[in-house]
Symmetry: C2
Subunit: 229 residues, 2 copies
């Protein structure tokens, strides 16, 4: 039986412009009220995830910084699943090659990676990292270019969350839309891509919802709850 | 004519349990779409205000830490309207008198005051500050006891926001519910207390809405927009 559901925020619970799609909020509350805790999973910093959890009313652990940080509200403990040492090296290498690059406003607050304004292609950055022997990935979230160590991802964070909740991955569902959700969606027992997802995301998911964004999340939650009955 | 509206978050846009009242979200978007920028004003830290603004889609400057910080998204500048030096002295005095006191999770991130778990009465803390000659206020927000210098309040922050937007206070509306909203409500041209407000808040407001929380915010926004026509 599914014990919790991990839900991406940007593009999944929000529209492209980052505003909350109200249609998904009721679904999250329905899940919580049905004893299915919601784990918010974001590429953003922990403070963003904590605020979203407070306003939305979700109770599960939080995944922030694309999986670099897991926060357990039960113990108020933060688990760091990476650092930004290699990412800083990567930025230095990029700037040597392409000149000064601007980080996003939240980047200085990041503990396990960094985010650049979208002036450089993720593909180009990854090519340079490969040439320089840096163990980094560069992912374009649509909002920023996320640079992080290759072992930092929402999949590894989801394993940590499952262990905190004493659940197996066979008891986990996940909903997402973007490239930084793929590792999480691949290892969850039940995986949902909302209708607005990238093709690469839809390919790794068992289910693709009919509707985009919040309405898609509502479809996914209904499906998960129906399978529990 | 009203140029912008400042809206408190906790208890005004949210229910008592801190969850967003969806009924208010549409109203904020209606204001924004009608050319009435929304200024979110919170006792919480700036990261909380920034996340709320992103998810809700408000465009105005942000008031955080009960007025200790104003953030201008146009310039990405933060203005510090206080510090926590006196508040730290106040905490030391309280602990000498009452033994160790626990700060809330966000307190260490606060730059212009601090917040204690509600194990001590605000009235008792203020009495001690007076005796020790400390220029501090203690306000019970219902979520925490906020300790800050007496010049740090949402009223002074609202003056700063008005000056950033080149507006006069005669062009400002404000909506709130709690004791930390009083200074802001007192100086705004149009002031609204939502129906769930403390009596002391209702007394300083020109208008009290019929409905509580988000529905009350919607009433206030409709009234402000009708007066602009």
């Amino acid at each position: 039986m599914i014990r919790f559901v991990a839900v991406d925020i940007d593009g999944t619970l929000t529209f492209r412009n980052r505003r909350l799609d109200i249609a998904g909020v009721g679904a999250l509350r329905k899940a919580e009220n049905s004893g299915l805790p919601v784990v918010l999973a974001t590429g953003n910093v922990l403070a963003f995830a904590e605020t979203a959890a407070t306003l939305l009313g979700t109770s599960g652990p939080l995944i922030a910084e694309d999986g670099g940080i897991v926060f357990d509200p039960a113990s108020e403990r933060e688990y760091m699943l990476g650092d930004r040492v290699e990412a800083n090296r990567g930025l230095a290498a990029l700037e040597l090659e392409f000149g000064p690059l601007q980080q996003t406003r939240s980047s200085s607050a990041r503990l396990t990676g960094l985010t650049l304004k979208r002036k450089i292609e993720a593909r180009v950055a990854e090519e340079l990292f490969r040439r320089k022997g840096l163990d980094l990935v560069a992912v374009d979230s649509g909002f920023a270019i996320h640079i992080r160590s290759s072992n930092v991802n929402k999949g590894n964070a989801l394993r940590k969350v499952a262990s905190l909740l004493k659940a197996s991955l066979a008891e986990v569902a996940a909903v997402g839309d973007g490239p930084n959700d793929i590792e999480m969606l691949k290892i969850a027992r039940l995986s949902f891509a909302v209708a607005n997802s990238d093709e690469a995301v839809k390919r790794v998911c068992a289910h693709v919802t009919k509707e985009p964004h919040g309405k898609g999340v509502a479809e996914a939650i209904d499906k998960i709850l129906s399978l529990r009955d």
